[in-house]
Symmetry: C2
Subunit: 343 residues, 2 copies
């Protein structure tokens, strides 16, 4: 098999770092690896699989001879550089929201719609982290009995707001221990006017507010899920909440199915599904939890129960590492699926 030249734009960020590590860990046929960032970060050194790389400032020449370029440096950076990378012959796998709802750009979670990746015209979008984790868990149910409606409430880790948010939580823990005042400069949204401490808190705002008083994060879970399933009749509502958790997102998902599925059937189905680990033995107090799933690949599902408030309903508790399957891992899985089809 030919080797693949890869660029990572946003290599100093939390997802960029994870992308580089995962490329080293997995059986990816890596040729050259180019780590790109803004001029501010150029010259920094990063070690991947024992090899040291120097971060380069992104430029028009950065994408020559690049087969696949992972973008995770923010939506505006993607909008600026993706056309340039595509023109240079690279396939862009974009982790930002810049192109996700563009009808010409496939939005891909390999467990759900990997074939869509092959329809790309240069750009493939990687969905929102909460969306990815949810659709992986729901795909087997969708295929088996159909899904009419989804009601999801999230319990999201600070990693979704980047390294700085993880450091902010860490600093708030230190301040609490030292009996100092809590300071907050980042969460819920760095660019917003108000910032609140996350330690011992729950902030019901992720991303900025949009139509109908839903946050953009909530709209992403609604719109992206419909696009990934290719089903605009799928009815979804979402409430997204930031919590003092480091890097695994949790989701309490209520599903109204088209036909009845028992909890036992659901458990068996998900156990056999790709990318899912079922941890659901309540008599042994076994269920997924964020501190035990961080840094791991699967989407974890537990607390599978029939919802007796309707004829065809299920409750699920779904947990997944936001940086891995929620971002970097999913992007690399898209790349792995593409590799045999690269020019």
């Amino acid at each position: 098999m030919r080797t693949v030249n890869v660029a990572i734009l946003g290599a100093t960020g939390v997802v960029g770092q994870e992308l580089a590590q995962l490329l080293g860990e997995r059986q990816f046929p890596l040729g050259n690896l180019k780590l790109l960032a803004s001029p501010r970060s150029a010259g920094k050194k990063i070690t991947v699989s024992g090899q040291e790389y120097v971060i380069e400032a992104v430029s028009a020449e950065s994408f020559q001879d690049i087969d696949i370029a992972f973008f995770s440096a923010g939506g505006d950076v993607s909008k600026q550089w993706a056309p340039i990378a595509v023109a240079a012959g690279a396939v862009v796998i974009d982790n930002t929201s810049a192109f996700r709802m563009d009808p010409a750009v496939p939005l891909v979670v390999p467990e759900v719609n990997k074939e869509a990746a092959l329809t790309h015209r240069g750009i493939i979008a990687n969905p929102n982290c909460s969306t990815i984790i949810m659709v992986v868990a729901l795909k087997p149910i969708y295929d088996a009995v159909g899904i009419r409606r989804i009601i999801v409430s999230t319990y999201q880790a600070v990693s979704g707001a980047g390294y700085q948010a993880m450091e902010e939580l860490d600093a708030q823990v230190s301040a609490y221990t030292a009996q100092e005042e809590q300071t907050a400069t980042l969460l819920p949204v760095a660019s917003c006017e108000k910032h609140y401490p996350i330690l011992f808190n729950a902030i019901p705002q992720i991303d900025i507010f949009d139509e109908g008083d839903y946050t953009k994060e909530e709209w992403k879970m609604i719109n992206e899920t419909q696009k990934i399933f290719g089903d605009t009749t799928l009815r979804i509502t979402a409430t997204t909440v930031r919590l003092p958790i480091m890097r695994s997102h949790c989701e309490s998902i209520n599903v109204e199915t088209k036909h009845k599925m028992t909890a036992d059937h659901c458990r068996q189905l998900l156990t056999e599904a790709s990318g899912i680990e079922v941890v659901d033995d309540v008599q042994s107090q076994e269920y997924p939890m964020p501190i035990y799933t961080s840094g791991q690949d699967p989407v974890w599902v537990g607390r599978i129960r029939e919802d007796r408030s309707i004829d065809c309903g299920l409750n699920l508790w779904v947990v997944g590492d936001q940086i891995r399957k929620g971002a970097a891992l999913n992007a690399i899985q898209i790349a792995e699926y593409l590799v045999p089809n690269l020019r």
Copy 2:
């Protein structure tokens, strides 16, 4: 107005302490106050409104001349001592789950069904904390347009598991700062075999598991809500989760109403309702959060949105101090309603 002699059984616990403080703070016509606990705690001293009280061991004589006895020392203690207190002439307001589903015992949240308190035969049950907070927020909606179905996911504080759980979270913070190993001996349920750290975690188990793989906490939210509303046609499903939050519970509530209610109408209705504070101005990033609502009386409601996935649906984000309105305050409000009717 006559004064009222009060006993608190479980006076050393987190709810017992709050009961004593609130009796001092409010315009309660307090006569004698007797603080009771197990023999193990007898002799301890507690200061209420500047006056020192000595904890007495509960005995058959404890309830002589007591008008109202608040019980918050666990279900077994309530089952043992409530009949004795009632026989001695006291009205028991029981904060445990011992009598809540007893058809002969009213289960009361004053904002919803205060009249039920007057039907007591000696015992009045104070509902589960998560239930109280939810029903206060939903009552105005229920009255205005009817409620068909409730889907609730909770974000619950450690205070619900007592002082020791708050201390355990505190100890885990200290251990994290000192880079020591996390230990857990209490959560999710002290009497269960397995215990998990709560710092940076989300534990989808509150109380022990019961029928249908729902926890007792989840069943409480379902069954108690139906009983308080006096409506067994009300369809409810719940997922309850413990989080590293100190003492305010949060709830993401999806409501299917019988008739359409706009978000604006809901906001106005709840603003006018007793016991509720609406904090819902998303353009100013105003919504309720646990660190700002702890130690306060109201049930706080924000993130009020129409749920477009159904014809008649609303999403609400509800927050309330678990120890106050979720327990001690509600019990005292029941007592305050009873006072004019005491023999």
